[in-house]
Amino acid sequence: MSRVVIVPSTLALLPEYASLDDPVADLRSVVVDAVGWLLEDGPATASTGSPAGQRIADHLLGPGGRAASASERSAGTSPNRLVVANGSATRTEKAPGHLDERAEAFDAAIGRALAAGDPAALRDIDLTLAAELWAMPDAGVLRDLATLVPPVSEVHVDYDDAPFGVQYWVVRWLCG
C-alpha cells in the first residue's frame, strides 16, 4: 500500500507570503491534515512542475528526515507521493487569467478522475488547452501520474473549489 496526496501549488501556502488574516485558512487546514496523513506512513517524494511548486513541497514535507531522501527520489523507491498541482486559473472574471468558458469543463474532467481514483484518465489532459487555461506546468504533473501511481483503492476528496478563480483540489489516494 502507498499513499498519494494532491495539493494546489498556490504561493499563498508559503510562510514568506503570510498575512495577518490567512486568505487560504480553510485550504491550508485541509492541506496540513492531508500531508500529515501522507507522512504518517513514512517519507514521501514530491511531484512538482515548477521551482515554486518544489518550494511548497519542501515547506509541506518539512525539514530533513520527513521528505524522501535524494537517493530515494532518484531511485524512485519511495512509495508515497505529494503532488503539488492545481487546475485552471481562468474560472472567473477576477481569476488571474480572466474568464475562459472552457475552464470549468477542463477542471471538471480532472476533478472526476481524481475523485474516481483513476490516474489513467489523467492521461487525457490536453496540455495545449491547459496552457491556454493557465494550468501549466501543473497539468503536466497531473498527466504524469498516469504512469507513476499504482491502482487506487481508496479516495478522499478533502477540497474541490476555485476560490480565487483558480481550481484547487486536496485529494488523498490510498494505492495498491
Binding site: 498556490t10 504561493l11 499563498a12 507570503y17 503570510a18 498575512s19 495577518l20 488574516d21 490567512d22 486568505p23 487560504v24 486559473a89 488571474p96 476560490p163 480565487f164 478563480g165 483558480v166
Partner: protein
C-alpha cells in the same frame, strides 16, 4: 521594549492609538464638543469602537486661558475616570495632567498612565506613578511653564535637547520606582517649540527611538502642521497624517490623536511597507 501601561501589557512591536478625550470647554480642536460628561463618554465609546487602546483624558487645555485650580481639574476628570474604568476594564486610561495631587486622585480612580505634557513641572508626579504602578509620559518642553506659549525660544540642537531632557526625566522616574517598562518619552511637538523645532523633531525622530525608550508622538492638528501648510484648525488632517507617516517610519509606538481610524491606517500601512507588520490579507498574484 515591552510596554506596561498600568494594568495592561503590549508586545514589543505593538503600535497604539491614544485617543484624545477633552473634559474642557475650550480646547483648540474640538472647542468644547466633549465638555458635557455624557458627550465625553460617547467619545470614549466611539474611539474604543475605532480601535483606540488608550484614551487620554484632559481637564485643562494646553493653551493659556482661564485659570483652572486643582479642585476644578479633579472635578473635571476624576469621576469621569471612574466611569470609564467601570465601563471599559480593558481600556488603558491616561490622564493629561502635570499636577501630582490630580495624578494621585485619578490613579485612585483607575487611571493607568499619567501623561505629563508639561515635562516634570511638578516633580512629585513620578512618585505618584511609582506608588500606583502607573506609567508616565516624559515630555520635552524646554522648561516651559505649564500653559504658556513659546516665545523666541531657541535651541543649539532641539533634538539633542529633547533626548537629554526626556531621558533624564525617564531615568528620574525609574529612580523614583516607576517600572522601566512603564516609561514613555514624547518630544512634545509645539510645546516650548516653534514650527522649525517641531519639524526637525519629526525629521529626526529616529534619534529619539534609538534611545530605547518607547516614543509617543502628539501631532494631531497642531500649529506646526498648520503653519507648514498655512491651514487653520479643521483642515490639518492630511498634514497630520503625513507627519504621522514619518513618525511611524522612525518607529514611534504611541500616537496621541483626534482621528483614530485614519491614523491607524497610516501607521499600519507605513509599518507594513517597513516590513514590521504583515499585510492584513494578501492574495494578489499568489493564488
Amino acid at each position: 521594549m515591552t510596554l506596561r501601561l498600568g494594568r495592561h501589557e503590549f508586545a514589543d512591536d505593538a503600535t497604539l492609538m491614544m485617543a484624545i478625550v477633552n473634559r474642557t470647554p475650550d480646547s483648540f480642536y474640538d472647542k468644547g464638543a466633549t465638555w458635557a460628561e455624557d458627550k465625553a463618554f460617547d467619545r470614549v465609546t466611539a474611539v474604543v469602537e475605532q480601535g483606540a487602546a488608550i484614551v487620554d483624558i484632559g481637564g485643562i487645555k494646553a493653551a493659556p486661558g482661564e485659570f483652572i485650580d486643582e479642585a476644578e481639574e479633579k472635578r473635571r476628570v476624576v469621576s469621569f475616570v471612574e466611569r470609564v474604568r467601570a465601563a471599559y476594564p480593558g481600556l488603558v486610561i491616561s490622564v493629561d495632567t502635570w499636577r501630582a495631587p490630580v495624578g494621585r486622585a485619578v490613579c485612585e480612580a483607575g487611571a493607568d498612565v499619567l501623561n505629563d505634557a508639561w515635562g516634570g513641572a511638578d516633580p512629585a508626579l513620578v512618585d505618584v506613578a511609582a506608588e500606583f504602578g502607573a506609567a508616565i509620559v516624559c515630555t520635552h518642553t524646554g522648561g516651559a511653564t505649564p500653559r504658556t506659549r513659546p516665545f523666541r525660544i531657541e535651541y543649539d540642537d532641539v533634538v539633542a535637547a529633547a533626548i537629554a531632557d526626556t531621558t533624564a526625566y525617564a531615568e528620574r522616574a525609574v529612580a523614583a520606582g516607576v517600572d522601566p517598562r512603564s516609561v514613555v518619552i514624547d518630544p512634545a511637538h509645539d510645546f516650548g517649540k516653534n514650527t522649525f523645532h517641531s519639524l526637525e523633531l519629526t525629521r529626526r525622530l529616529g534619534e529619539m527611538v534609538a534611545t530605547g525608550w518607547p516614543v509617543l508622538v502628539s501631532l494631531s492638528n497642531k500649529d506646526f502642521v498648520g503653519e507648514s501648510l498655512d491651514l487653520p484648525v479643521g483642515e490639518r488632517l492630511t498634514g497630520t497624517l503625513a507627519a504621522t507617516a514619518i513618525s511611524a517610519l522612525a518607529g514611534a509606538r504611541i500616537y496621541r490623536v483626534h482621528e483614530v481610524v485614519e491614523t491607524r491606517q497610516v501607521v499600519d500601512m507605513v509599518n507594513t511597507i517597513a516590513g514590521r507588520r504583515l499585510p492584513q490579507r494578501a492574495i494578489r498574484g499568489l493564488a
